[in-house]
Assembly symmetry: D2
């Protein structure tokens, strides 16, 4: 299997960057859920390229067409399929990658995996463009979650070493996440945007790219969701969030910071607050033993620098099996971190809706 995910509400994503179209089927959605398609399109717009100078110049008109599962503004309960036509593709740009795999890309392992039969134009099924249907699916799921009091949002935690103010893992609020989740280049500290954009522009001028970190949170998830061992919240969320290209690491709560702490610092003490059980800190990111504590769920994803750079790079010729040089042409985004935020929020939404369904809470 590959591009299908989910044990309760399943998504099946299809499409190749320069093929006829891309899309997604959502199977087993609850029936009768109102979905605001304008809100879905706003999420997709956050992910779309061409929003500003720093992103790829390719313009997409990524309006999904709903083929099924949706009637009179509500889910019917039958599989919901959305298709996005591919237009504005320039396949000629990618001619030489068939023989000369781009460093940092899936070209070479994809060639081996598919015996050379995969569609390499524009990255084919590996293209970041496939995150459009993922974002669509997540945007549908997050509306269903919102109706159950669960809010998801994220921000650009870091780009090229410039750091945004991290989430207050105890007090991050629904209102804060809702506000972040409506904008492009979401930041807790808006003043960091200029510095981050300067780093991106500097890389672009050097024919290079930069990476960063996205931090995503969810509030309103009740305590008791998830399971020990292999259906823990971390297992489930990471098994879908690694589906977002360029993600090479995920950490929950304080994450790798725990390596340097003592137990007395890392443990989150409990306290009663207005009759509710809460923790004073939230180093566990809202998850203990794989199960939610009722505190905010916080996860950070590292997004590696865009692999497609215009600088000349060393590679090999797959046919002649000799060393070679490669310069990648075409339209490429020198930093995809801002666009990765809504995609990761969407992946989290799909993960959480499955975790809730598993507990019979949908």
């Amino acid at each position: 299997m590959s591009s299908a995910w989910g044990d309760y509400i399943k998504i099946s994503i299809f499409g190749e960057s320069h093929g006829e179209g891309i899309g997604v089927v959502l199977d087993n959605l609850p029936a009768g859920e109102a979905i605001d398609m304008d809100a879905v399109l706003r999420q997709m717009a956050r992910r779309a390229p061409g929003r500003d100078r720093s992103s790829t110049p390719r313009k997409e008109a990524d309006t999904p067409r709903i083929l099924s599962g949706f009637l009179d503004g509500k889910t019917t309960g039958a599989p919901l399929c959305a298709v996005i036509e591919n237009t504005n593709t320039r396949s000629a740009d990618y001619k030489n990658i068939e023989l000369l795999p781009r460093p940092g890309h899936s070209d070479y392992p994809g060639f081996v995996r598919y015996g050379g039969f995969n569609d390499v134009r524009g990255g084919g099924h590996f293209s970041g463009r496939l995150t459009a249907p993922l974002t669509f699916a997540g945007a549908v799921c997050r509306q269903i979650l919102l109706r159950r009091g669960i809010h998801i949002g994220g921000h650009v935690a870091a780009i090229a070493g410039v750091k945004d103010t991290p989430f207050d893992m105890v007090n991050v609020s629904a209102a804060q996440l809702d506000a972040l989740s409506e904008i492009y280049f979401p930041l807790n500290d808006r003043e960091k945007e200029t510095e981050m954009r300067e780093k991106i522009e500097a890389a672009r001028l050097s024919l290079d790219s930069v990476g960063g970190i996205a931090e995503i949170a969810a509030v309103g998830v009740p305590a008791g969701i998830g399971s020990p061992m292999f259906y823990g919240v971390e297992n489930v969320l990471s098994s879908i969030m690694y589906g977002v290209p360029a993600v090479k690491g995920l950490e929950f709560g304080i994450g790798f910071g725990a390596a340097d702490l003592r137990g007395s610092q890392d443990n989150d003490p409990y306290e009663m607050v207005d009759g509710e059980i809460r923790t004073k800190t939230n180093n566990c990111g809202g998850i203990l033993g794989g199960i939610t504590t009722g505190m905010p769920i916080v996860v950070r994803a590292v997004v590696k620098p865009t692999s497609s750079i215009a600088q000349e790079q060393d590679t090999v010729d797959l046919t002649k099996r000799v060393n070679a040089k490669l310069s990648v042409h075409g339209r490429h985004d020198p930093c995809i971190v801002p666009r990765a935020v809504p995609v990761l929020e969407s992946a989290m939404a799909i993960g959480l809706i499955n975790l809730l369904a598993e507990r019979g809470k949908l």
Copy 2:
């Protein structure tokens, strides 16, 4: 679901710390695989407590009894079940946690998840003791992988800020991993052991604990294993490795380090070496687009400090719903990082055997 994992070779783990017994069923193993049970026991011994002063004084005689699936030293192809009897348990130690959840433990979310019916003695099903059957299962799988040229090993990358020499992600060798995978407290730089043990002892004397990082590698995995999107190597490995208690973050290759790199630094250039396609660096940890490149697979896991500490901590009384104080008694390991290494190696082995099976390579 919860304690069952695997799409091709499935494991189903059962047991509670102070119940009758714990164990695992491995379903769909290939038939006719010779398994050296002494080698399996050596892996289990690496995980077992009581190996040195720094670990819990509880002595376990964790000799698994094979009930099925194994005949004349070979797998029969039918489900292989191994059971470990529970002995040497002192349930009285855990009396007060039923009402007073331990900070950093699953007590509170577990109470909500199971409505108070779960067996809390010794942590019940959440106990680190459940990593014994996981290690058994992994020790079986790694022998099958070894026969296909795949070697897995790991080391203590850091404890309480003291760092071991990391793996050379390009040149880490089968021999190096084989040697590491036979010893307790595995290190690339043996001289770090003293300093690490001092940190652990200092924590213990403070009635506290310390965390760290385990780094695990596999060599010999052929290129072309894994799939884009949701059956990528990162997705699959993380969905099982988060099953190891105390793991709060996972990163592949350079991981979070990629956030500060440019694409020209992060991309791994290709080169021909003795007729083989290799990368000059391996920042991707042997995985691009979810698929193996043929280079070593490298993953790092942060292991949070042991939650059970003897210091008094703030908690709440779940019945009276008021604030309370708690001192955890009992036998607890002030640092579980060395023991987590073989468990994480095992989880990786189970993950990799499924990934190979998915490609028809078993």
Copy 3:
């Protein structure tokens, strides 16, 4: 879950009878498989209505549009999505079924299941029209199987009590199945067609419908495919074949006939034939202990009479909760058995390709 199926090669079917479109995603197909789309269309034509007087007058132009996973006549290995637009729909026919559930239809349980939000026009997602994408998926899979020497075909074993000559379960040949699988109203004894059509016409004139039996076989499946207990060939095939609407029973080999036999009659003795191990009879339908014997696989499915009949029937008003009378208008096929044959062949193909993949034989 619901309309997604498959552990190795997954299909996800979507669409509603009178919605925008219907279709299917096939995930994890092997790459580089040539698919003859004309042959696919021929299979879809066998299923399509409007072929003769006895079938529904609705004309469908069910030409699927391939959106992904297919390039230069071959599978790319990425998910293959095919979409069929819905045209020629007359929703007015179905107005009263929202309140008055049709006997024998899914209207009432569907109403409860989906809380009244499901699209009931034309049967919505329950429509027999959803077998079009299933047939597409099966037609793709059977070409891949054919390349591995596996031939699938079926015939109308009975309609309204008129019986065709059953398959010779020992000697049914690839050539016989290939010939049957290219025609509409496939029969071993062509002379039975007139009598069967007379029964259908008689039912039609009585504003009624008739049922029957489809018998499907596969030859060329090697011995050793399948597993004991829950991944047996019978389990897997029935779990997909019951997805064909109107199927209410499945039997393998001699099936229910075994109830009246003695073991000495039912057991299939072995013999050597040209150096091959074969059975002299094939009462087991090519499956013992869930595993193939290498002999033909034979399964029979009962197809109940079409539920939509024009005769007045007793029903209830779901809103007023009182008894009511209902006459179903619209275009309905008085017998769907001939059209069910290619659908069941397709379901078997999808089942078998998964069983082969499970054993690493694709």
Copy 4:
């Protein structure tokens, strides 16, 4: 995969007939469910051999030992594992089957499937003895279902052509099923027992065996359970019920009888009865479009005659690859239909508990 089943509540069965032990793990059971272990043992006793002259003389003391997941008479929510030790085995009886596969048995396909490494003693993992843990699992699940108003029971519908009175599919009652489900050789018409036993004894004296039909019903399942296409009640129940050895056909409601009916006869008209929506007939067996109607669920399974017969049979020598003769010695039951009834009831219980869980109804 093979001996693991279930998408929500998973069972993983292990063991071989003459190995150390057999058993089952039930993963993801709801917590806090009281289980009456005496009632479980009564179900296992119904399945056990040695109950009367007609069954195998082997005496089993199949008392399962619960290793986990059960505390103070209630489920803990953690995996529940039960182990049955193997005793009283006589492996010598089975010596020659390694080379001479028994007709009607899994010996030959099992040999191919497992490359000759499977444990053939007593049938190994293919043994009917593996239905003991399946019955245990089902006996646990049916108690949980009973608490939700769902009653399951069955009877011997036919043996060697002697037919019991079938269930009244409209009016079969909870009390009737409860009574049947507590006895050995359950019949609606007790007077048929003598004739059936005579047929069995006649076969035994001829060194032969007889087959039959088991009919199983469930009442109290609410309307709206199940899904169209591939998670229909028929799909789910058949995917587990074919796990019972010797079952070669399953039909729901009137099943194959529908082939000879007209739609006007087969359709079940609705009526209001005491404010409830019911059907006047129940030819659909309580399932339409894969979804429950709220009427009794009725399924019939054909159980082929016991394959192990003492008569000399034709076979082949797997090593020498020549024709051979075989006489099966050992203890064999000339008719397993009565013992299959509780096993099929158990399989139905496990199927139904998953279907309920899928709808969030547990």
